[in-house]
């Protein structure tokens, strides 16, 4: 391709300075492209349908898998007769526990290893056998033809009853997965010194992830090499798990996941279905496509566990928090899966308090195991803590915003008082309240409520900290600069719908002075792209963006060295200007990047970047505060959320569009927790799942969320966090939403809704 200057957005102006070899990249003081509103680099592909998701994969000779699952929450398989299924038309492979190829295979939940096929089924949806056939219909017909005799056993569905003596045991060892206690200072003493003490029990429902794209994969063998196209948040995580289960070298397992339709934490790992697809594909000697049904995903690929929380808190009249005493129970499900994981983090670390006690009990129940769900544990803990802060504020006659501002910690108390690199908690609350018009809105709502009986108004808020969000090593990124000046960016990270590709293109563009559109991204393929950890913990941007920067800098260094030969000046004297390399001391001496001889000869310069360590002795965390205004129809219990504002400190904004997108998406998801979503088990009769479709499992719809949503980034320079200064965003944005709604509901109704979701059913039960 001939020299094309349109690929550069910078000509004649230096792009960020290239650090000398061995030196770290400096912090960007200003940016040209980073932080702008830039549309997705793959927007056309996604919208037009050209993007190929794992669900779209069609390979020659591909056949289809289906899985027989236990219909009972607790049962023992007495007899499994697969013979009728084997004779069904189109069937090419069938595996079950007694097949030789599944012998000894294990599936791990945390540290708990269970047989891949376990005749003792501990949750509805447990795997018993799998079939591959020429069509999906044939595969399902064959599954239905398998005859099973079950001994149906008593079950426990409710985590609050799981530890009762009479509760049926999920495992021999009993129903306690584990318990945890955290103590700082003396909570009892602290509470005894308070002017106001409040105590309350809170409940949050079990939520289902419900990504648009179903869980599933296509598996294909080429000799002893296995390739898997998986709808995944992390291809390397899938590779590692599958190679472990199938006892194969990592190099022989290639996992590809270019596009994927959402996971929210439930696709950080592969499923048993992935292993089954691989086994069936090997047996049938054909590629096997195994995409679960919505019903299956509701049963067995994770959930946000329900939690029951008891919180007692005390404050002095001046607003000082004197003690927090928190206890929580939650179910892992049938296997260890973090039923109470991180639920107490807001209590431990969000507000200044010297006396804190948190205890939690994670229990087994006969239901599908949990999986991380966007900000695991945090929205639950927030539901309790943020409502209680408002209760305390009311008791001591202080504005809720004021009370929170009184208790801003300067250090991470839960980590032994180490400092944060930056904390924007105060600004999030202050600036958020200001832009939201908090004081005026409170006044207006109170006035409205004095004169209106039928429809009441409320405003509410909540703040948050996210336990991680700083990202960190390991990560490797490679950037290739081609001789025509165009660029290829190679990273292992997935783009889980958050816009990772777009953001990384912007980072590389910023460093190289190239338009993001000419950066082609290769990603999420263990066979051809660099190592990355899965996209979870809001770590992808703070992990990958500095790595991308480092790779771009490596490219620039090499080009400068090469240009130094052409220009006969020391590399240290040269400045990279996007289109050109220019001598700092003699501007006559310049060469177009595409004319650099060694680049022309080699065809490509490849730079490699690694993610450096996080700062020692400091914690990198995002903070946020959200504000909402709503109306409640007192007669019918209908809630209309009128507006929401999210003020988030996630460091530097890399793309304002994808940033706002996360804020809005987080709020929408939080509205689901606060107002609409819950998993319903038929706890009293069968223990089976009642709501297994999109009508019965109630995600919020477009009409349940306000058109008026504002994203207010609180950008604080954080050069210590990493060299782009970005912190995580995807999870904090959904932490305080539900609690802010509950607080607004309280102002509107004078009722504390302690049990989520607060739908008209719940409201009418209390008004």
């Amino acid at each position: 391709m001939a020299q094309d200057d349109s690929i550069y957005y910078r000509q004649g102006l230096p792009v960020p300075e290239t650090p000398e070899p061995g030196r770290d990249a400096g912090f960007w003081e200003t940016t040209d492209i980073v932080g702008k509103r830039v549309a997705r680099v793959d927007g056309y592909e996604r919208l037009s349908g050209a993007a190929v998701y794992p669900s779209d994969i069609k390979l020659p000779n591909m056949i289809y898998g289906a899985i027989l699952r236990c219909p009972h929450p607790h049962a023992r398989v007495k007899k499994l007769n697969t013979a009728p299924a084997r004779k069904m038309p189109g069937v090419r492979a069938l595996i079950s526990g007694d097949a030789p190829e599944s012998g000894g295979l294990q599936w791990k939940y945390d540290d708990y290893a269970a047989p891949l096929f376990d005749p003792h089924c501990r949750f509805e949806g447990e795997v018993l056998a799998a079939v591959a056939a020429d069509t999906r219909y044939q595969a399902w017909d064959a599954v239905r033809a398998i005859k099973v005799e079950y001994e149906v056993l008593p079950y426990v569905s409710d985590h609050d009853q799981a530890l009762d003596d009479k509760a049926p045991r999920v495992h021999e060892s009993g129903n306690l997965v584990g318990s945890d206690e955290y103590i700082r200072g003396d909570a009892d003493k602290g509470l005894s010194r308070a002017d106001a003490v409040v105590e309350q029990t809170y409940q949050t429902p079990c939520e289902l992830h419900t990504p648009m794209e179903l869980h599933g994969c296509v598996a294909n063998w080429d000799g002893d090499r296995l390739t898997i196209w998986e709808s995944s948040q992390g291809v390397y995580a899938v590779q590692s798990r599958i190679s472990e289960v199938l006892e194969m070298p990592l190099s022989k397992v290639r996992v590809i996941g270019h596009y994927m339709g959402g996971g929210f934490g439930s696709k950080l790992q592969p499923g048993k279905y992935t292993v089954l697809a691989a086994l069936l594909a090997r047996k049938a000697a054909r590629p096997v496509k195994m995409i679960l049904t919505r019903e299956e995903t509701y049963l067995c690929v994770g959930n946000r566990p329900a939690n029951t929380m008891r919180l007692k808190a005390g404050a002095r009249k001046d607003g000082t928090l004197t003690g927090l005493d928190f206890a929580c129970t939650g179910p892992s499900g049938a296997y260890p899966a973090g039923g109470t994981s991180l639920v107490d983090w807001q209590i431990r670390d969000l507000y200044q308090c010297d006396n804190v006690r948190c205890s939690s009990r994670d229990v087994y129940i006969h239901a599908g195991p949990a999986r991380p769900f966007r900000a695991p544990g945090h929205p639950q803990g927030s539901w309790a803590l943020e409502q209680m802060m408002d209760d305390l504020a009311e008791k001591i006659g202080m504005d809720p915003v004021e009370l929170r501002l009184k208790n801003i910690p300067e250090v991470s108390q839960a980590r032994g008082n180490i400092p944060y690199t930056t904390t924007g908690l105060r600004q999030c609350i202050e600036k958020g309240a200001e832009q939201f018009g908090w004081k005026a809105a409170v006044k207006k709502a109170r006035e409205h409520n004095r004169s209106n009986r039928a429809v009441k108004r409320g405003v509410g808020m909540g703040a948050c900290v996210w336990i991680v969000g700083g990202g960190g090593p390991p990560a490797t990124v490679a950037i290739k600069l081609f001789r025509d000046g165009s660029v290829n960016l190679n990273m292992g990270a997935s783009d889980i719908g958050t816009g990772t590709k777009t953001v990384m293109a912007l980072v590389a563009a910023e460093e190289l002075g190239i338009r993001p559109e000419v950066i082609q991204i290769e990603h999420a393929d263990t066979g051809t792209t660099q190592y990355a950890t899965p996209s979870g913990g809001s770590k992808t941007v703070p992990t990958e963006s500095p790595t991308v920067r480092n790779a771009a800098i490596d490219v620039k260094r090499q080009v400068l060295e090469m240009a130094a030969e052409d220009l006969d000046v020391p590399a240290a004297d040269l400045v990279y200007q996007g289109a050109e390399v220019v001598s700092g001391s003699n501007s006559e001496k310049r060469i177009r990047v595409t004319e650099v001889s060694r680049l022309k000869k080699r065809g490509v310069v490849m730079g490699v970047g690694y993610r450096g360590p996080n700062p020692e002795g400091k914690s990198v965390n995002p903070f946020g505060a959200q504000f909402c205004e709503l109306e409640v129809n007192i007669g019918t219990g209908e809630v209309s959320i009128l507006r929401f504002l999210g003020a988030h400190d996630s460091g530097r904004v890399l793309d304002r569009l994808t940033y706002d997108n996360q804020v809005f998406g987080g709020i929408v998801m939080g509205i689901g927790l606060g107002l609409t979503e819950f998993r319903q088990l038929d706890a009293k009769q069968t223990g089976k799942l009642c709501n297994r479709n999109w009508h019965d499992y109630k995600l919020p719809t477009a009409l349940d969320v306000p058109a008026d949503m504002v994203s207010l980034p609180i950008e604080i320079d954080d050069p210590e966090a990493n060299n782009t200064g970005a912190k995580g965003l995807g999870e904090p944005v959904t932490i305080p939403t539900a609690a802010a709604i509950a607080n607004a509901l309280y102002m509107a109704t004078s009722v504390r809704f302690t049990r989520a979701p607060v739908n008209p059913i719940e409201i009418r039960r209390h008004l």
């Binding site: 007669g635 019918t636 219990g637 038929d682 009642c690 008209p760 059913i761």
Partner: protein
Amino acid sequence: MLPSFSYVRPETVKDTVKHASARGAALHAGGTDLIGCLREGIMDVDKVVSLSALADLYGIRETADDGLTIGALATITEVAENPLVRNKYPGLAQGASEVASPQLRNQGTLGGNLCQKPRCWYYRGEFHCLRKGGDMCYALAGEHQFHAVFGHDRICVITHPSDTAPVLAALGAKLRVAGPDGGKTIAVENLHVPPRDNVLTETVLGPGEVITRIDLPRPAANLKSSYRKVRARRSWDFALAGVALALEMDGDRVENSRVFLSGAAPIPWRSRSVENVIRGRRLDDKTIAEARAAIVENADPLPGNTYKLELFKGVIEEELSAMGRPE
């Protein structure tokens, strides 16, 4: 996964009736409900008979006596947006616009809406319950927060899912039905079957009977109609509680009224107690307070859905207050 079935698209009503009379045949209008039922395996169907070629079943027209006739294949969107409907029977337009979601309203038909299967999550799930020929109702002692508070006789506690049926019943609409024995007319209020009569069916239609048109009588000059629905989320959801009103006013007094509830009972539920309270009266605070009490008379709530009583009180209060306000 769908079962295997054959598909026919007859061109005359007569042929349709013939095909549909066979065992295992099911009529297919928009398919929004039928296909879901087949996928969930809740009925045995081996022949799907499409109505889509039947020209007589389309269109919304005024009748000679100033009423309206709506083809069974009119989509819910057509009903919601039709100027004649909006003008003459605003309650019906409201009812239609409250149905499901835009996509479903574009595809679903009025005839199909009246004949749709219940949405009980046990019925739609893997539970062989009474209504599917089993021997127990799971909802009674199970999870029934969405279930009925009237007319279930503790046999089957579904709520009838349709938002158009209560309004059509309130408006006195009649169905034209073609069948093996020729044509007949059924009032919408007589279409649905309470569990005590037969728990295995939702409508009185027999095998091969096809609704061809829905006829609405000429609206009285003083007719006011409305439909109000409360649901657990604001779209794509069925009624927790709904009220259809058709009031004939004499000045500011209610002369005649027909009040039907949705989300209440296994059939669109006529609330005669509310009708009795408001007949001949102004819709003032006192009347409305009495109507609030009347709407829950004879209710038989289950432990998990007593909230519905308060909800119905709230809805009737809101609706009657709106009706009572001068325009």
